[in-house]
Symmetry: D2
Subunit: 147 residues, 4 copies
């Protein structure tokens, strides 16, 4: 039940594995079962009307649960997303960053499940809710597995 | 049960409403209950390893169902996504476009539901499956509604 | 943001509308945005092996969110489930009741969304997670609506 | 890609493993990637109003995908449901049996995914759509695994 990577180590590792997108995400907080991740909103995350797009919120939820799994399983982890459900609840606030609060519900040998609530920075009403399931291949396998 | 917009009209309208992303998507086929949409894969759609990213597949599914709803309800439609589920089944083929086959399961007064299977171009095994639910506000309302 | 039915009124109303199943469920706690519901486990809720079945957990999540909506919208509400996602996380404890903790994430004019975590009574690890979306027809309409 | 159990063998095996509920379900058709299952509707499957209940539809979808996995993996399979999403599209026809058409989308070493469309017998409009994911433990492991 303890972290294999601390917040700084996790942030460093995400820069390595996601060179394209690491500027989008900031890890704000990390505990043994929760992580808070900020999406630094830029033009590329917006849809017409100026609010954060669905794919950007999907990406934020996905990165949040993946980072939580890495923090617990370590750098060798090659987890891949196998399932996701997302509910869009309210219109995001235009121009505001998006904050994801993720809770790890399960970390098994082969499956991990995390729940995510996403908020426009400064608001108390959730904009979206997501659950992500990751398949975790056995340590030492050569590549990510889709089960 | 008939189309309000034909394939060419629908393509034109998507250029207007999605100026940022319309180059990503090509409508390949349209019937009264189905639509086929191609994601023209570029670097920005890839994750490390060179395959299409989860958020890009989410976006493809979302655009496919949205375009299907527009084709049936017309340009005034302000539908917003309220729910989605996505299952990732296989690793996409590197460098291949992604083809989405969408079927409209329901088009009610206030809710539309579409099912999507996504394939790497040239392959018969689905890479991902998605269902998208759209909330459709009454015609004449001033803005999109999240229900 | 206030309750239209209190805990006792809500329990009475569930007896009326669910005569077949009201003995299965006990409302343990109710606030303006949360409800706790106990599934009193009997043989009919079990699958081979003696643990609570998937359909029984689905039913518990469904009743929990429905009861929460009734408590806020009142008896005239004819909400119908339009979407659900359920993740099964761990094997339930044999013979134990199941406790659902539901949180209302959204209560709009036409859609309500609730999140549910389900536990075997006496355990701190969630057995299942569910999200339920309800479509709420306008007050005065003659029948439940599927949107 | 071939069946390990044929339709009759599969039906016999379901009687053994689901003694409580096997009378509810009839396997109508089985191919290497599809199965059709009938829910023989009785009073216990109905909700107030006389239509098939949500938990009954969930159970039908769950049994359909499980039976498909058994037919392909054989009797030793101890698959457990890990994830489900269900969309309820229309009110079922009162008194009619429910027919589930299931398609196997993926059958990997450790995960299986099946898609299900459910119809009131005699109608062409789907009543509900479901996707079920099963976790398949390695052959020879002592008990079902939740991953």
């Amino acid at each position: 039940m303890s972290l294999v990577l601390n917040k700084a180590e996790l942030a460093d590792y995400l820069v390595q594995v996601f060179p394209q997108v690491h500027e989008d995400f900031v890890i704000e907080d990390l505990t043994e079962t929760t992580i808070t991740v900020r999406l630094v909103v830029a033009d590329r995350h917006l849809r017409p009307g100026g609010t954060v797009s669905g794919p950007s919120m999907f990406g934020l939820a996905d990165v949040s649960v993946y980072a939580m799994v890495l923090a617990r399983k370590g750098r060798q982890s090659l987890a891949v997303t196998t399932n996701s459900s997302v509910d869009f609840l309210r219109k995001p606030i235009g121009g505001a960053d998006m904050i994801a609060h993720c809770k790890l519900l399960k970390l098994g040998r082969s499956l991990a499940v995390g729940d995510v609530l996403m908020y426009s920075d400064g608001s108390d009403d959730p904009v979206a809710r997501a659950t992500m399931t990751y398949s975790i291949p056995p340590v030492g396998s050569a590549a990510a597995s889709f089960g």
